[in-house]
């Protein structure tokens, strides 16, 4: 059988290489299967390519796409659940073997549509040297919201003119601000959307509270740069000591390890009412239009590539979180974790993690939400109003899915 | 009469314009013009600036469509034929050299287009370049040439093709007298040798008179006179034609100025060429010298008589000063009379008047 498999890459060159080599390895061991692994750009490009190809009549059989896009893909009637190709008990057991936090975004209505693979979660990085300079214990990151503010104030430095030269905290708010913000809402013990993906909670006062906290970091406490903070420049800002603490994805682990000119630590996000963080990243999906044989082969490939050895290789190469505990039991992984303890932080945080915001018409709804966040952060609206407006818009869109 | 243009040495072809007109907006540039250019002859279009010479030529070439009338070349109605199919050569008033091609390429352009073999092209190029004194300039671009050199290149492009019809629009106007004289002779010789039909626009009457088999004189888009150059000079049909040919122009004066003649010309106009007038004690024309202009071998004398100014050309060895009163005479056959009403030539009156002068 021949399979076409689209995969996006979001963390730089190594990832593409690894997927390619894993695929080659599989094909070498399974001569009856031919897999054409096609690099398909960013997640955004991948969706475009998948939908264009499907509408053009030549969908791929297998693709990786954002876990949050599950409802969209269902809505477009493009994917089929894995369940039909995982019939044996062994298969069912295998399915149980993923971290539950990752499965939240992968299942709906009792069916499994996505298999987690290229998954991540945000963590907090801190600059130990800056902590030392500020008179803080370099080994103790802030563990609560209050501590974050408190530490942040100590870490914020100004020059003679009163211009800030180092900010305490950096929570990026460009691109997909809702994701990191979801860390705050989770910590404030509120869920942004239901698991059916047809109702949001944007106007919950707890959400407003979380948003207010985020806004206050710059406006009230002065520990974070005001305005929209660029996602892509965040690691660099961290390296350049523009910010002593940053929140960003585990996908940056390798990057930070390679490039930070100082000692740094990695920790779970601080807690408030509870600990918490969203998951993120990509799942495997099976596509309509393929033959049974192809889909079975695709499912087998997915089973293989998410297997312990493969997932370990993947995690070590990219910094993504291996999606199954058994991967962490492999020798390779153990050595890696021992060698680089921060690698386990994300895994450990999974215990507290929730699904990434995901609804029907996901991109539109999240864009509405993002705009509300931006409006509050840039001071155009207060937090509560912004969120209420967003909720009203989201409701209008999602009503038809209830 | 219709010579097919098959081989390398085609004879000329007759050109016929029948009631051709061309209108620019409200302005009639060419107005109901009929001309016959016999095959193999050299016809010059002459006329003042803006009279429609270039326009006429361009209509023959097919670059301008006629608004009315028919054009025939070699008996074939070409009125609606595109320029490329009329099989003729042309020199443009503005030269129209291809700025991106060098002199050699400009000259052989047409041969290349018609896929003349390389050897043949080279040979002809060599001949033409020598004839035009361009041999040393063959690989220059037009922008590196002087005005006259550019004109010669344009000329070369037209004559190298040896087409049955050749059109030239003031091809010599930028050349010096010596070269012009040579080119005049050369072009004429070439035309005679190859036998093609030439329509040649010029404002230079020396060219017109020395080269032409037929001169077509235009005025404001209309035909003024078409005849052989000698006739044009000797028997101009209208005062316009009379004054247009000959430098300095013929003096056209009120008939009343000539006294003592057999015929009464008071109602008419008389024409007398400056070179036809001579100092004559008892001449019929009394005048006062207003000014003198020295011209090398000759001198021009502006005279005044009865309120009219006119010019006399005399050999420069005469000793005349401004202000003197003189009397002038002329030979009988040099008197031209134009009807006061129609403006047309009246040989009858001239003959009548002449009897007395000769006598």
């Amino acid at each position: 059988v021949e399979l076409q498999f689209f995969f996006p890459v979001a963390v730089g060159g190594k990832a593409a290489e690894t997927i390619q080599s894993l695929t080659d390895e599989y094909v070498a061991n399974n001569p009856d299967v031919k897999i054409d692994a096609v690099y398909s750009g960013s997640y955004q490009d991948t969706i475009a390519k998948v939908i264009t190809a499907s509408r053009g009549g030549t969908p791929p059989q297998l693709s990786m796409a954002l876990s949050a896009d599950m409802f969209t893909l269902i809505d477009e009637d493009l994917i089929v659940p894995f369940d039909d190709y995982l019939k044996t008990d062994e298969d069912k057991a295998w399915l149980e073997g993923f971290y539950p936090a990752f499965m939240e975004n992968s299942q709906t209505g009792g069916k499994t549509y996505g298999i987690p693979f290229q998954r991540s979660t945000p963590v907090m990085y801190w600059n130990k040297e800056a902590f030392k300079e500020a008179g803080l214990d370099p080994e103790t990151p802030p563990a609560t919201w209050e501590e974050l503010v408190e530490f942040g104030k100590k870490l914020t430095k100004k020059d003679a003119n009163g211009n800030v030269t180092q900010w305490g905290v950096r929570i990026p708010s460009s691109g997909f601000p809702y994701w990191l913000f979801q860390g705050l809402t989770t910590q404030n013990d509120v869920i942004l959307a239901n698991s059916e993906g047809n109702k949001t909670n944007f106007d919950d006062p707890k959400v407003a509270e979380a948003l207010q906290y985020m806004v206050d970091l710059s406006t009230k406490h002065g520990v974070m740069e005001p305005g929209i903070i660029e996602w892509g420049a965040t690691p660099k800002a961290f390296f350049e000591r523009q910010a002593a603490i940053m929140w960003t994805t585990t996908g940056n682990l390798t990057n930070v390890r390679d490039n930070a000119p100082f000692e740094f630590g990695v920790a779970m996000l601080p807690a408030h009412k509870r600990r918490g963080a969203p998951t993120g990243g990509g799942n495997f999906y099976l596509f309509k239009g393929a033959s049974e044989e192809q889909l079975t082969a695709a499912a087998n490939f997915v089973k293989w590539i998410t297997g312990p050895e493969q997932a370990a290789k993947w995690t070590i190469a990219t910094g993504y979180v291996a999606p199954r505990p058994d991967a962490w039991e492999t020798e390779a992984m153990k050595t890696y974790a021992a060698d680089f303890p921060p690698a386990t932080v994300a895994r450990d945080q999974l215990e507290f993690a929730v699904a990434e915001l995901s609804t029907y018409q996901n991109q539109r709804v999240t864009t509405i939400f993002n705009d509300a966040l931006a409006a509050a952060i840039t001071g155009q609206k207060d937090a509560a109003t912004a969120l209420k407006d967003a909720q009203a818009q989201a409701d209008a869109i999602l009503a038809e899915y209830r | 009469m219709n010579t097919p243009a098959t081989d390398g040495r085609p004879g000329g072809q007759e050109i016929l314009l029948e009631n051709v007109s061309k209108v620019w907006g409200a302005h009639k540039a060419v107005d109901d013009l009929s001309i016959r250019v016999p095959a193999g002859t050299f016809t010059v279009l002459l006329g003042p600036s803006g009279c429609g010479k270039s326009t006429t030529l361009r209509m023959i070439a097919g670059l301008e469509s006629a608004d009315a009338g028919r054009i025939l070349i070699g008996g074939r109605d070409v009125t609606h034929l595109p320029a490329a199919e009329r099989d003729l050569a042309m020199v443009f008033q503005s030269y129209a050299l291809f700025p991106h091609l060098d002199v050699a390429e400009n000259i052989v352009f047409g041969l290349k287009v018609r896929r003349v073999a390389r050897d043949e092209r080279e040979a002809r190029l060599k001949r033409v370049a020598e004839l035009l004194g361009l041999s040393a300039l063959l690989d220059r671009k037009p922008s590196q040439l002087s005005g006259g050199q550019q004109q010669r290149v344009a000329l070369g492009r037209a004559i190298i093709a040896e087409r049955p019809v050749c059109l030239m629009d003031e091809p010599l106007s930028n050349l010096d007298a010596k070269l012009r004289h040579e080119m005049r002779v050369e072009i004429r010789a070439l035309q005679k040798k190859l036998g093609f039909t030439m329509v040649y626009v010029t404002h230079d009457q020396v060219e017109a008179i020395t080269m032409a088999d037929q001169v077509v004189l235009l005025n404001g888009g209309r035909l003024e006179q078409a005849s052989d150059p000698r006739a044009l000079y000797q028997r101009p049909e209208t005062p316009f034609a009379a004054r247009f040919i000959g430098v300095p122009p013929m003096n056209v004066l009120p008939g009343a100025l000539l006294t003592d003649l057999d015929a009464d010309l008071a109602a008419h106009k008389v024409g007398l060429r400056p070179e036809a007038l001579t100092l004559a004690e008892r001449g019929p024309l009394a005048a006062r010298v207003a000014s003198l202009e020295y011209l090398g071998a000759d001198m021009l004398i502006d005279c005044e008589a009865g309120g009219s100014i006119f010019t006399v050309r005399l050999p420069s060895d005469h000793d005349i000063a401004a202000g003197t009163d003189i009397r002038l005479g002329f030979a009988a056959q040099d008197l031209h009379v134009f009807d006061g009403a129609t403006g047309h030539r009246r040989d009858d009156l001239a003959a009548a008047a002449g009897g007395r002068i000769a006598g």
Binding site: G12, G175, W231, G232, P235, N259 | A83, P99, G110, R114
Partner: protein, 283 residues
């Protein structure tokens, strides 16, 4: 770099020219501003990433970024594909646009305005909007995952037709006429008169078109699947990953690597621009 070729050095003193000096100065200031992104790209590409934001004269040089970039994708093959792609597009565009522009510039025929409007319309319609439809067409033609599939939607370019029309309109009519008199056919005139005289425009258009298609990304990504057909931009895009932060050193090294041929081509051709083949031509 051109000064030597421009004018034979005059041994004569020239009057100090304030106007000229000011102009030169301003031109240089602007040039420095304009080249800043390129300069930054070069700086980061040849230094370790720690120097992305620190401009120290003695920063250590490295070739590592280029090595990383080169290793990330089969760039050699991608270059070949891109080269074939732009050649195909350019050839097609030159041919089709020249013919069409000629028709619009020098012929009168019924429907000219309407057709020209349709051409201008193509300028307005962004090709990305048509991706889905065009993909369907390519599938029907069986061209998905081929280089012609990337090229075909672009070879009739409204931009090119419009540009060449504007240029052809400025060619002096006597030259056209002279060629006609010499017996040139319609295409002959185009080939021997219009095209040579529009050479600067062709050069400009060629450079612009090549750089545009060299850098085009979305459509090639979607319509191709295999290494044998994909252009360099697809390889380049691996570096504009969004999850991790921007690594300017590698991105810029990759950008320089992929745009290098274009820069070199421009350096080679730029002289032609100011060569003045038309100089005094139409005297």
């Amino acid at each position: 770099m051109t000064a030597a070729a421009d004018a034979p050095a005059r041994p004569r003193r020239r009057r100090f020219d304030l106007d000229r000096t000011l102009n030169t100065l301003a031109a240089w200031v602007l040039a420095l501003m304009w080249i800043l992104p390129l300069a930054f790209a070069i700086w980061t590409a040849i230094h370790p990433s720690a120097y992305e934001a620190r401009f120290e004269l003695l920063a250590p040089l490295t070739f590592e970024n280029f090595e990383k970039a080169w290793a990330a994708a089969p760039f050699a093959r991608y270059f070949l594909n891109t080269f074939m792609l732009v050649t195909l597009i350019l050839a097609g565009q030159f041919l089709l646009c020249t013919l069409a522009a000629y028709a619009f510039a020098r012929f009168t025929f019924p429907g000219r305005s309407i057709l020209f409007t349709l051409v201008l319309l193509q300028l307005l319609v962004m090709p990305d909007i048509l991706i889905v439809e065009n993909y369907k067409t390519m599938r029907i033609l069986g061209l998905v995952d081929t280089i012609p599939a990337i090229a075909l939607p672009y070879i009739a370019s409204g931009f090119g037709i419009f540009l060449l029309r504007q240029t052809f309109m400025t060619v002096p009519r006597e030259l056209d006429e002279a060629a006609r008199i010499e017996g040139s056919s319609i295409l002959g005139i185009l080939w021997r008169v219009y095209i040579p005289l529009a050479k600067p425009t062709y050069l400009a258009y060629g450079l612009v078109s090549v750089s545009h298609h060299w850098n085009n990304f979305l459509w090639p990504l979607i319509v191709t699947n295999s290494v044998d057909t994909r252009p360099v931009t697809v390889g380049l895009s691996v570096f504009s990953a969004i999850d991790s932060g921007i690594e300017w050193s590698v991105i810029n090294a990759a950008t320089l690597m992929t745009s290098g041929p274009l820069l070199i081509a421009f350096l080679l051709f730029q002289r032609q621009f100011v060569q003045s083949f038309m100089r005094a031509g139409i005297k």
